[in-house]
């Protein structure tokens, strides 16, 4: 026992280092985007305020109010438009099924140069934001909410190593998964496209709506190039995101009231 203690005190620095490193790894391990700790939820309050101050300083003061009003109005219009479209085009529908709600929010913190990027919005659970809601703009998709505090919420960006966006090719409805390889923040990766699918540069990729997080038909990007995958019968390529993620300002948070029902059903099927 004494030898052990002597050994530990001899290499005290090394053992302390190991302890701190292990704590860090535990933090990393416990804070995957889908199971975040409460700690981050509470720190959101502090960092959110600082980020808000920064966004206020850098934002153009004159444009701010008018932008906010326009964004809120757009959100309202989108909700009504969504309802009307289903009413007129579908004879069979569930009243709630169509009623995706949109609320506008401002991006107060955002990054594109990390391998895993996150963003923060100035709306929290007091405004009705919940985990797993999608975030979009009129021109493209931004990400998914993972953490909500009282007045702020944060989410994983499309530019994240775990982001898998379910999309489809607009012209032929072929499903593709879009991921990000961490290099150029303007380009996403698509892979495992069957060889028979005819694709051309410039083809539009839109959301499939399969995940129930994003509404169907929101643009994601256009195909930049397509090439054959090595030693398989599949094709792969890059898409150019329709959004410049470095210039996000006002966004919409999508609320699908039926998301939980959808989730429960899919888990039941898998069980």
């Amino acid at each position: 026992m004494r030898n052990l203690l002597a050994f530990i005190s001899r290499y005290e620095f090394f053992f302390l280092f190991l302890i701190f490193l292990v704590i860090s790894f535990i933090l990393i391990y416990n804070n995957n985007y889908y199971q975040r700790s409460r700690v981050i939820g509470t720190t959101n309050r502090v960092t959110g305020k600082l980020n808000l101050i920064y966004a206020n300083i850098t934002g153009y003061l004159d444009l701010k109010n008018s932008n906010e009003m326009l964004a809120a109005e757009n959100a309202r219009l989108r909700t009504t438009l969504g309802n009307m479209e289903t009413e007129t085009t579908d004879s069979l529908y569930l009243p709630e099924a169509s009623s995706l709600n949109y609320m506008s929010a401002r991006v107060i913190s955002n990054s594109v140069q990390q391998r895993n990027n996150y963003f923060m919005l100035d709306k929290g659970w007091r405004d009705g934001v919940r985990k797993d809601m999608g975030v979009i703009t009129a021109d493209g998709i931004v990400g998914i909410i993972i953490d909500v505090s009282g007045n702020f919420s944060s989410g994983i960006s499309v530019l994240h190593k775990d982001a898998r966006i379910s999309g489809k090719i607009k012209k032929n409805n072929q499903l593709v998964n879009i991921s990000w390889d961490g290099m150029n923040y303007r380009l996403g990766t698509i892979a495992h496209i069957p060889a028979h699918v005819h694709l051309l540069q410039g083809d539009t990729v839109i959301t499939s709506g399969n995940s129930q997080i994003f509404p169907e038909g929101i643009p994601i990007g256009t195909i930049e190039y397509i090439e054959d995958e090595m030693e398989t019968l599949f094709k792969q390529g890059k898409i150019r995101y329709s959004l410049d993620y470095n210039r996000l300002n006002y966004v919409y948070i999508v609320n699908n009231p039926l998301l939980n029902e959808f989730r429960t059903l899919t888990t039941e099927i898998h069980d």
Binding site: E12, F13, F14, L16, F17, F20, L21, I23, S24, F25, I26, L27, I28, Y29, N30, N31, S37, V39, I40, T43, V46, T47, L50, Y54, S111, V112, Q113, Q114, R115, N116, Y118, M120, D147, S154, K161, D181, G182, M183, N184, Y185, N246
Partner: protein, 171 residues
Amino acid sequence: MTKALAGNTIRFMLLVVAQVFIFNKIQPTGYINPQVYVLFILMLPFRFPGFWLLFLSFLTGLTIDIFMQTPGLHAAASVFLAFFRPGVIRLVGKKEDLEPNDYPNVRDSGSLWFFSYTIILVALHHLFLFYLEVFRFSEFGQTLLKAVINIALSTLIIMLIQYLFYFRKKE
């Protein structure tokens, strides 16, 4: 002692703010992301107790993590850097007659000494950080490129800060 404490506290706050709101915002491509906050750990006094060196490094990393929403990532890399700091100081060559509050900087330690000290520790920190962030061997090459670019950039910015704020005071 109080002066050293105040100096380090102000340095800590300024570097965290600069890292979060300046160096994490410059983004012409996905590659540029210098980690200048490590300067705080680099400039802790030479004769700093091991526990406090590791603890403050952990805390510095964690503060950056909270802003970047990457819990543990920068904390691990900073602790990694702190662990190698005493060894690197020995490697680069330590001065014999040290006052209790002496800390590494360009003015007292000399340009070449500080440059070697910085680039070795920044390299260790960045390689550890970027590989841990990716955690995939499939992206080995591009992660290395990103690390090398940012090692050069961080070292350059740290040297510039040194010349701007510490070199003039030479009497």
